[in-house]
């Protein structure tokens, strides 16, 4: 049986031209990515913004050609057999407000269903059913330009599921949604896959909890490279031997990341200043090392506001692999936060 998705040493490089001096520089978006996703899986790509998740989805959905390597969807090559892939896939991107604003919700969805060859009758039946599920049925005749961003996002999610694709690509599907709507969408995704166990979903997210809640397997990706790929439980299990602590401490102008680096037994840490306090995530070789950390904090007049020993989460797995939290990687460009591995 064919794999739903397979990539072999897949790489993608963008050439960026500087408008001022016409010089080009290369940006490596994906590097030697090898993945296998089985039919029926809900597979997550977890990584910060700019990690290469969207680039991978663009290649798999035939929007973008790889620079090298190979990618197959349901056994079809994305470069040579794009026309065989398109009828059996669909995609939804979050955080955008796409759609023909002059058309109603029903017309937008009907048109896309027609592109995929659904009869009008079947399309209208599915549209009514799916809009009901996402709580949008009262807006079926509303022009999509009159919908809020969140409702438009729900319309797009319906568009993705409407054609009953064999492989569905969801690129940050809950981005920009409020907490309740995001929860509804996650529940809808899981239910759909439960009802269609032969279908496959590849979902990208930078929300750890989302990946943990939804995905059968997760690939952690950073700077275009896949750093780990396994079930969330297995990824966390690898960290269970270490002691993981989450501390909230008072701010200090004399405490630096170097102070933690010097402590014997601190495997990884992430130190993130907040408004009036700071967050310190620690992965220690053993619990006893915590005493040395507390001593260091005390020596620098830093008071502990909150201290929790944690079961490992994907957040800690990411910190363990990358040396920084996702938040730090994303904000690293403007220099906030410190971490060491």
């Amino acid at each position: 049986m064919n794999l739903a998705i397979q990539t072999q040493h897949l790489s993608r490089t963008y050439k960026l031209r500087n408008a001022k001096n016409s010089r080009t520089k290369e940006l490596v978006a994906l590097q030697d990515v090898c993945l296998e996703v089985h039919p029926g899986e809900l597979f997550g790509l977890l990584g910060p913004n700019g990690a290469g998740k969207t680039t991978l989805i663009k290649i798999l959905t035939t929007l973008l050609a790889p620079t090298s390597g190979k990618a197959l969807v349901c056994g079809y090559d994305v470069v040579k057999e794009a026309s065989k892939i398109r009828p059996i896939i669909n995609m939804v991107s979050g955080g955008e407000s796409s759609g023909y604003g002059l058309l109603t919700v029903r017309e937008n969805l009907w048109m896309f269903a027609q592109f995929y060859g659904l009869s009008s009758k079947e399309a209208n039946r599915r549209i009514a059913e799916l809009l009901e599920v996402v709580g949008l049925s009262d807006r079926i005749n509303t022009k999509s330009s009159d919908l809020s961003t969140g409702l438009r996002q729900k319309m797009n999610i319906v568009r993705g599921f409407l054609t009953d694709p064999q492989v569905l690509f969801l690129d940050e599907p809950t981005l920009g949604l409020d907490v309740g709507a995001a929860r509804d969408v996650r529940r809808f995704i899981r239910n759909w896959l439960n009802q269609h166990p032969e279908r496959t979903i590849l979902l990208t997210t930078h929300y750890m909890a989302e990946a943990e809640e939804l995905c059968d397997r997760v690939a952690i990706i950073n700077q275009g490279r896949v750093l780990a790929c396994d079930t969330p439980a297995s990824l966390k299990h690898k960290l269970q031997r270490e002691a993981i602590y989450h501390l909230e401490v008072t701010s200090s102008s004399i405490l630096y990341s170097e102070h933690f680096k010097e402590i014997q037994g601190v495997r990884k840490f992430s130190f993130r200043p907040r408004d009036g306090y700071a967050v310190l995530d620690l992965i220690l070789d053993q619990d006893e090392t915590l005493a040395a950390v507390v001593n260091t904090l005390t020596a620098h007049q830093v008071r502990i506001i909150n201290l929790q020993k944690r079961e490992p989460s994907l957040e800690e797995v990411f910190i363990d692999l990358v040396g920084k939290s996702i938040e730090e990687v994303e904000s690293g460009r403007n220099g906030s936060g410190h971490s060491e591995s």
Binding site: L64, R86, N90, G99, Y100, L103, F115, Y116
Partner: protein, 290 residues
């Protein structure tokens, strides 16, 4: 259910039909029907009025000279060039930048060239209304003499159709180029239509051009198309100009067909090359918010 299971012709037809529907919804729904009708009538008359005023000033209102129907009809039919060509290529900009739907269209089982051609149909219909309004205005108020019973309407409609196909294929080439452009694509369609205006003999015979520029006009199918449409409507008045005087109507049509076939092959190859290149460069769904 899926495109892979149906014939290429049906896939082409489905994409074309749906895109035509979408294009018409977009072009006709931006205003209420009354406003849309008023706009459709006033716009072509206003455009023609500018030309008539300019002509009137230069020739001291000599509307009986044969050059006037030549200019007037050339200008009227040239509306198709701008509308059909840019209508097709503008769909790339619209879907990319305005509606942000390009990636969903492109990754759907859509026959992409057929989709873009279909998006141009609405502009063709609007252009047809404009051309008709302009010609009727000219006949009623500006002494454009069209002998309705003398016109070979079948030949006229075949010529019109052939020319529109030719313009659509040129529009497809332009759409391919648009896929490769990012920041400066907005004015390209109008710039091309404007440039072709000079070389197509729309408002003056090619003899007016410097001799080294004339070959461009003779290589363009639009030149023969406009000449034939004018001749079919006003007969000898249009054929009195020296540019294509030696050619019969049938010869003009033959040249038009040959050049259209050539442009068809050129357009399809160019579009596919541009599409593949855009996919390599990652430009298919680029949104610049420019």
């Amino acid at each position: 259910m899926h495109t892979s299971q149906i014939s290429p012709f049906l896939a082409f037809w489905r994409s074309f039909r749906l895109a035509t529907w979408l294009g018409w919804q977009i072009e006709s729904n931006w205003a209420d029907p009354f406003l849309f009708t008023v706009y459709s009538l006033i716009k072509p008359i206003s455009s023609a009025a500018i030309l008539v005023v300019m002509y009137s000033v230069i020739t001291r209102a000599d509307f009986t000279a044969p050059i006037f129907p030549y200019i007037y009809l050339g200008n009227a039919f040239y509306m198709y060039v701008g509308q059909v060509m840019t209508g097709i290529s503008w769909a790339v900009i619209d879907d990319r930048e305005h509606y942000k739907t390009m990636k969903y269209i492109y990754t759907a089982p859509v026959h992409f060239p057929a989709y873009l051609l279909g998006r141009g149909v609405a502009r063709f219909i609007i252009a047809s209304i404009s051309v008709l309004v302009t010609i009727v205005f000219g006949v009623l108020f500006l002494e454009i003499n069209i002998e309705v019973t003398q016109v070979n309407w079948a030949f006229f409609l075949i010529t019109l159709f052939t020319g529109v196909v030719m313009l659509a294929l040129m529009g497809l080439t332009l759409a391919g180029v648009m896929l490769l452009l990012v920041h400066h694509m907005f004015g390209v369609g109008e710039a091309v239509a404007g440039a072709l205006y000079l070389f197509s003999g729309a408002i003056f015979p090619l003899e007016v051009l410097p001799s080294f520029l004339r070959p461009i006009g003779f290589l363009m199918p639009i030149t023969y198309w406009l000449e034939l449409l004018r001749r079919l409507l006003v007969g000898d008045v249009a054929s009195s100009f020296p540019t294509l005087q030696t050619l019969t109507n049938v010869q003009l049509y033959f040249i038009l067909v040959v050049l259209t076939v050539f442009f068809a092959a050129f357009s399809i190859l160019t579009f596919r090359a541009c599409e593949n290149r855009a996919r390599e460069l990652g430009l298919i769904d680029t949104v610049t918010n420019y």
